[in-house]
Structures are given as C-alpha cells and as structure tokens.
Symmetry: C2
Subunit: 499 residues, 2 copies
C-alpha cells in the first residue's frame, strides 16, 4: 500500500553486500542462527501492518546477549543497518525490514527472570509475551496492566519500543507508566541500564526517552515492569446513544465527574453491526453509538461508581444503559469490542486502521469531520476506539482490487491524522509512527523540533544505522512531502472547518 511512501526521501542507505555480511556473521558467531534463503526470509517481510512489505537481506535469531552484542559491534563496524523485531505484531510498520539491512529478531529471549511479589515487579527478557507476564504474576494476585489487543502474541520488548497502550490505559497508563528499568545495547554494543529499581532515578530520564523510540536508539535486552494487584471486582455498563456526538459528550462528562473507568470504549453504528453479526455480543444494532464503560476496584466503590456513571450517561442522552448481569455477559460485551477489527474485516476486502489521539473535548467535532472526509473520499469509515483517553481508531474500508481505492484509503488516512493534529492531538496514540505515519510527522512537528529529534538520535546512533526511515522523517522528506507544520487551531486544510 505504500504508494505515498517514497523511500528515496529518507536519504541514501549504506550499500551492503549480502554474501559478505553473511560470511562475516558466520565467522564471528558460528552458533548464531541466520536466515538467508528467500523462502526463509518470506515470513519476516512485514509486521502487523501487512500492506507494507520488504524482504530483509538477512534475519538473525540470537539466543544470548553476547551474540547480540557481537552482532551489533559487527554491524556498527561494517556500516550495516539493523532493524529490531519482537513478535512482529506492530501496526505501524516499525519492524518493517530493509533490503539493505539485517533484521534482528529478539523473540528467543523469552524467559521470565524474576517475579518479586513484595516489590511488585517482574524482570523479564524482551521476547516474553505481554500476557505471559500477567500469567506468571497471577499466583501472587498481581498482573501487568497495559493490554494491547495483541497481548496474547506481542512481546514486552516491542511494547516498550512502541510505548504500547490498550483498553485500560486511561486508568493504568501506557507502557512508559508501568516500567521501572530497562537494559539496552547501543549500536556500538555497549550495555546500559536506564531507570532503576527505585521510583526515580538521577540524570536525564533516558528510560522515558527510550520508551516509544521505535528501535532508533538501541536494542532492548531486559525489561523490569511494575505489577499491580488485581482489582477485586470489575463491572461493565453498555450505553446506547442515537448520535455519536451524544456518546462523545457522555465520555467527557464521565471524566469531568471525577470517575476514572478501567476502560471506556466507543463504537459507532457500522462497528456495532459488524461486531454483532460476528460475535453476537448482544449489542443494540440500531444505536448510532455505544459506550462500554468498565469500573474496577473494591466492591463498594465499584457499586457507587456504576450508579454515578449510569446517571451521567442518562443525562447525556443515553437511550438505554445496561449493566452486564454476570461475568459471562461482561466477557461477551468485551468480546464484541475486542473482535471489532476482524468483524469489520468481514464487511470489506481490506481495511486500514488509524491511530490518532485528540483532546477528549474535540471528540464530537472530529467524528463529524471524519464523516465528512469519508463522504468526500467515497470510502466507509468505522469508528472503534478508546474514548476515555481520546485515542481514536478509525477503520477505513476499501477494496485494493478496485483501481485507486488503495491510494484513496491512504490519502484519507493521512487527512484524518492531520485533522487530529489540527485540534491539538497527536498522529499516534499507541501504535507508533513507524513507516506508516512518517509523512504525517511533518504535519505534527516543525523543522526545529524535527532537528532536535535528529540531534537526540545522533547522540545514540551517529551513523543512523538503527531502524532508518522510521519514526523521525528527514527534513528533506518533509520539504518534498510539502506538508507544512500544522499549529493546533490553525486551518491549513480549507476543506475542514473548525468544529
């Protein structure tokens, strides 16, 4: 799908000789598994954003830290670009490989090293799956809070690299809020510890800087996360609305009432019907929008909050508010939401999932704006998202076999993200920038800000070998892409009024 992506705008990459690199690797690390045959490389040509595909030059599958260290030193010395990959579930093409580079797969580092129930921490290797941490912590009544939809498969190293979120991040924060310490290797093979076992650490906050840096600053080799006690009770309310604007207002009013739900999700009519057809969750198919609001904590507290949320929703115009009667119904309500993406996949040959974040107060206006853009571009858009934190996931439906639709879908996606920037939001909530949103970074940041990103990148990786062409665009790209930096509140797009 990368019609709008022109990789020449990222500047020249070093030329690497495949046979020579393979020989060097085999000599330096005779016991390292390296894939080099075309058929072996195939499974690694994309991550979760399957529209973008590139065959990597070589794939390395190390098992030991020393292997990674030697490999990085070699690549640094020979000027070979390196792309790190965890489970490959990312949705912005952050782990998209390079034809002229090595793909470093960290999936085999999958040991849980230590669970400390008293300190409520888990020290794990980067290839450990997100859900596996919670499973290992469960016997102590603890869990790891961030829960991306891919949590069965995605790895914690990738979660850190992308600063992953999930349906509970309104209350429990993104990955960065749930980390204590990471161990990383620089491109020169130096081992660094960022953060500490204590709650604060001295010097610059490189742990936060590294989190969400999408593989541009170094390779994550160990992660210490915070664990939380499992809430005693969780209850879910399902509210129906006859307009998305009313549902949007209800979201703002729940938060303004001082309630912080464990999860607060919105779906519009297209998404509701798709999910209901697929999962039979019991959703009201005539509603223009529904809200799912989970309240968790101790029994009495949850009971009170349910009452208050019910009142706020009703005042905001909910036509019906239902509380899941039992655990089975609660799980069914969530199953509809969690399977909304594949459900929509059944409506259309292709879909394209966006990930913009906006201030909550802008929800109704941005939803209107998306509807207008949808009409203008002649493509349906379903809205399913983390309403509580203003993290939208518009899903653009298209058919890649229809001439021009692919191109239109990508252009529409770009416009939606630029709309998010325009109202003071961000082009990414939890999926990262990767390759996908590299052009929109030019709308989000001005040249001074981008230059600063490049200077910070150069502090870690002066040769630019780590994941080039992702996350931070070159100034050349932004000049060619032609998008001016959008100041929030300005109106660079004449077709979009201020709502």
């Amino acid at each position: 799908m990368n019609i709008l992506y022109d990789e020449r705008l990222d500047g020249p990459l070093p030329q690497v000789n495949k046979a020579e690199l393979l020989k060097d690797l085999q000599r330096a690390l005779p016991d390292l598994d390296v894939l080099w045959r075309e058929d072996e490389l195939k499974p690694y040509e994309c991550d979760g954003l399957s529209a973008y595909r590139t065959t990597p030059m070589l794939v390395a599958l190390p098992r030991r830290l020393e292997q990674v260290q030697t490999l990085l030193k070699l690549c640094h010395q020979k000027n070979v670009p390196v792309v790190a990959r965890g489970a490959g579930t990312g949705l912005s093409g952050g782990a998209l490989p390079l034809e002229q580079g090595l793909l470093l797969v960290m999936a085999r580092f999958n040991n849980i090293l230590h669970i400390d129930p008293a300190a409520r921490t888990a020290r794990v290797q980067p290839g450990v799956r997100n859900l596996a941490i919670s499973q290992a912590a469960a016997p102590f009544g603890l869990y790891y809070a961030p829960d991306p939809s891919s949590q069965i498969a995605c790895s914690i190293g990738g979660n850190v690299a992308e600063n992953a979120g999930g349906v509970h991040c309104l209350k429990y924060g993104l990955t960065v809020h749930n980390l204590l310490k990471i161990e990383v290797l620089t491109i020169e093979g130096e081992r660094l510890t960022l953060g500490s076992d204590a709650l604060d650490s001295a010097g610059f906050d490189l742990l936060a800087l590294f989190t969400g840096s999408e593989g541009l600053l170094g390779i994550i080799t160990e992660v210490t996360v915070k664990l939380l006690p499992k809430p005693q009770v969780a209850k879910v309310l399902l509210a129906s609305f006859d307009s998305v604007e009313k549902a949007g207002r209800a979201v703002a009013e729940i938060i303004a009432a001082g309630i912080i739900p464990g999860g607060l999700e919105m779906m519009d009519n297209l998404a509701i019907r798709a999910a209901e057809d697929f999962i039979h969750a019991g959703y009201p198919v005539d509603a223009e929008a529904i809200l799912l609001c989970e309240l968790d904590g101790v029994e009495a507290d949850v009971h009170d909050d349910c009452q208050r949320v019910r009142e706020v929703m009703t005042e905001a115009g909910a036509t019906e508010v239902r509380q899941a009667r039992d655990e089975a119904e609660r799980v069914r309500f969530w199953a509809g939401r969690k399977n909304a993406f594949p459900a929509i996949g059944r409506l259309s040959p292709d879909y394209y999932c966006m990930d913009g974040t906006i201030p909550r107060r802008e929800l109704p206006g941005v939803l209107q704006g998306i509807a207008r853009l949808s009409e203008e571009y002649g493509l349906r858009v379903a809205n399913v998202f983390h309403a509580g934190d203003g993290n939208m996931h518009p899903l653009i439906l298209f058919d890649a076999n229809q001439p021009g639709e692919l191109h239109r879908a990508e252009a529409l996606g770009g416009k939606i993200l630029e709309l998010c920037v325009q109202v003071g939001g961000s082009i990414t909530g939890e999926h990262g920038v990767g390759r996908e949103k590299i052009n929109q970074m030019c709308a989000q940041f001005n040249n001074d800000e981008l230059s600063l990103f490049h200077a910070v990148k150069a502090a870690f990786d002066p040769q630019g070998l780590l994941n080039p062409g992702k996350n931070i665009p070159t100034l050349h790209r932004c000049a060619e892409f032609g998008a001016m930096h959008i100041h929030a509140g300005q109106l660079p797009f004449p077709e979009l009024e201020r709502f």
Copy 2:
C-alpha cells in the same frame, strides 16, 4: 559547605566581561530589569541549599517571553552561561548562580492562563506557585497532586526542572506523571512545544526527557498540568513501633497487600521527639519509629482500607495504631511531619538534608547502615521520609562552627547516597542532583552512561551554556573524584556489609 566540591573539575567556563554584558543587555532590552549592584545580587546567591553560595554576575528579571528569547539569543551569541531560577526553593543547589554567568529569574511569569475543568488541565506560566494551581482549581473540585513541602512557595517551572515529588507521590506520581505539555525556549531562543494536549505524543518523549533535566536543556516558559478530582475522604492512621526495622517491614507489607495509600511516611525517634517538642502533634515520644498512613478516596473504600492497614500494621509489630478522630487531629498529625525539618533545626545549629531513593525491601537494612555510618562519623542522623516510595530524607545534624564537622557532614552524606546506589537505588528521589550530588553521579553511572548524558545535552546545548557544572558531571570530575561506578549489589565500600 562546598569543601568537597572543586569547580575546576567541571572544565573551563567562558570568561565573561560583566560591564560589557550589562551594556549589551541594556541595549538589546532597554525595558528588562537587570540587577548588577553587589547588594541587589546578594539575595540570589543561593537557593534552598544555603550551604552553597555564589554571587551571580548579573540577575535578569524578565516579564515577557520575547525578552527571554532575545536574552537567550544574546547569551548564545556572546557565549554567556545562563542559570534559570524559579522561586529558589530547590534543595540541591540546582539554581546556584555562576560568578561568570547570568541568573535568569522566571518568577514574574506568574499568571494562570487557563483552567479547563472538563479536560481537567491547567495551563500556567512557569513562575506560578505549586499551591496556587490547586487554589485556582479548587472551585471546580480539582487540584494538582504533586505537593513538595515547599508548595506554598515553590514554582511549577522549578517543579518541572527538578521533577519534584511530595508526600502523595506514591499514589499520584512525580511531576513527570502529572504533566501534559510544556513550552520551552532553547539556548538559541527557539520555541518548542513538548508533549501535547492528548495523552500520548509522537516522536521521542522529549517532555519526559526535559522533566528533571535541571535547567540543562532549555528554559521552561509554559506548563500544562493534569488536575485530579479532590478525594471525598482522607483518613490518617498513626502507628508506633519499637524498632525502625519493624516499621520498615510494615511499609513493605502494606504495599504488598495491594493498598496504595495517599501518603505513607516514616519518622524515627529523634525526628519524633523533635517534632513533638515543636508542634505538639500528639506523637508517642517513646516509639522508636512511627508511620503515618493516609488513605483517601470514596468513603466505603477508605473505611475498608483503614481496617486492612490496621491489621497489617499490627501483624508487623505495631505497639499501637491510632486513627485521627477528626479533621483537626488529622491536620495535627501531618503538621508534625511537615514541620519535622525545622523541628530538627531546633536540635542542632546546622543540618544537612539528604534525598536518596531505594527499593522498599531495602529499607530496614539501609536504616541500619545509616545508623552505623552515623556512629562512625560521630554525627547524629534523624530519619524522616516518604517510606511508601522508598524515598529517604536522612537529616545529618552538625555544627558548622566546630572544626571539621562541616566536612564530616558532607562526607557522611556522600556515603549515605553511595549506600543507596549500592542496594539498587538512586542518589535522588525528588530534590535533584544539582551542585550538591554531582560527585555521587560518578557512583551512580558508568562512563558510557555519562557520555550518553553528555551527548543528549549536546543535542540541545552544544556549547554547554545552560546551567554548567550541575546534574551531569564531567568524566574528568569522575576520574578525579576517584569514585568508581557502583553496580547495585557490589560491595565497593568494605566498611558496609550487604544487609
């Protein structure tokens, strides 16, 4: 007190001609208030760490952003070091001025620009006092959570620069966890926006990097903070113990029980007696240690938590657990804690307040270690601290008029911080590194890590003009200081066993 501090170890600073700089400033900014007479400069020669004093060359007191911008451009062009200062309440000498530099006082930027009750945010100028934000938010039932002891006086710009904490940061986080967005000026006078009004932002997390960077990366000109709804109820328990180890264990067990108190503070016998003599808070003067545990939230929840905390404390060996009977007693219990520093000031001509953070499980051992060091150095140490988050504030009592005591106090302080590093902790919890702990940074970080800090610093300020000699030591300093980097768990200090 800076006997152990030798500023020659920070490398040469540019030589600045005072008369020339004054003339340049007056020409470029005729309406800028600049102080230059010896008697006018006097009040600015130190911050809250009054043991370190230097007379600034000039003090600038701008009122408008453009003035700051022009001033920075001029200093950048003329190679003049700049130290920023908010309210000057910092405890690590971060705002200590330079004889060869300009002190930039941001105190006059003291307007609250916007309170948004629906989004629960406040946009303020950097000179606004911490408490003034909560006061402005109070009519909406909201407040700003981080509450350093100096909250009546300290400014939000300084809070961001130092990543300030407070008695409630166990539950509500440090400053970095309560920020959405900041506006800054680089040393070149460029305006940057870091963070966004949305919950996540794209690119590297420069907002977190900037928070706690102690004036080394740029000048904060605007701050958007998150506001929280005021808890319905707050109750305080006061528990007495016959040993500090038992109190330390109780802390670990409260947290392990899955309870997150609003505040969880410990005081040892010396601190208890000092506070009781001064404030008459009703503390048990015979106890070896007390814990103050505040539980906040909705009524029913707080009631349950009080019961559970009481049980846990009793099991951990509390000899008595009292709940404040009414709001007046609750306030009195806290008044003792909040005035513990001045109370100890009455016991001794001088005291030196440390700020180390350790993993909670190390509390009993580190308290023993401090007791042994106290004996070895022949100086009394009182312990008053944020026990819940392992943030210790040992207070070293000494008399600067007794030959050698000043020197011994500083040396003892350094040893206590190195002990914190040794058990996996940090040399700062919430006060920052500043000038005070610059030597201990050599114990906390290895040369690779320090080099990375320098590279990041250079990305923002290649000439090193912003607050030189603070926060990040030169490699030369670390080599001369002679302290090797301490890996947590190693035993570089033969006089300290592993507890």
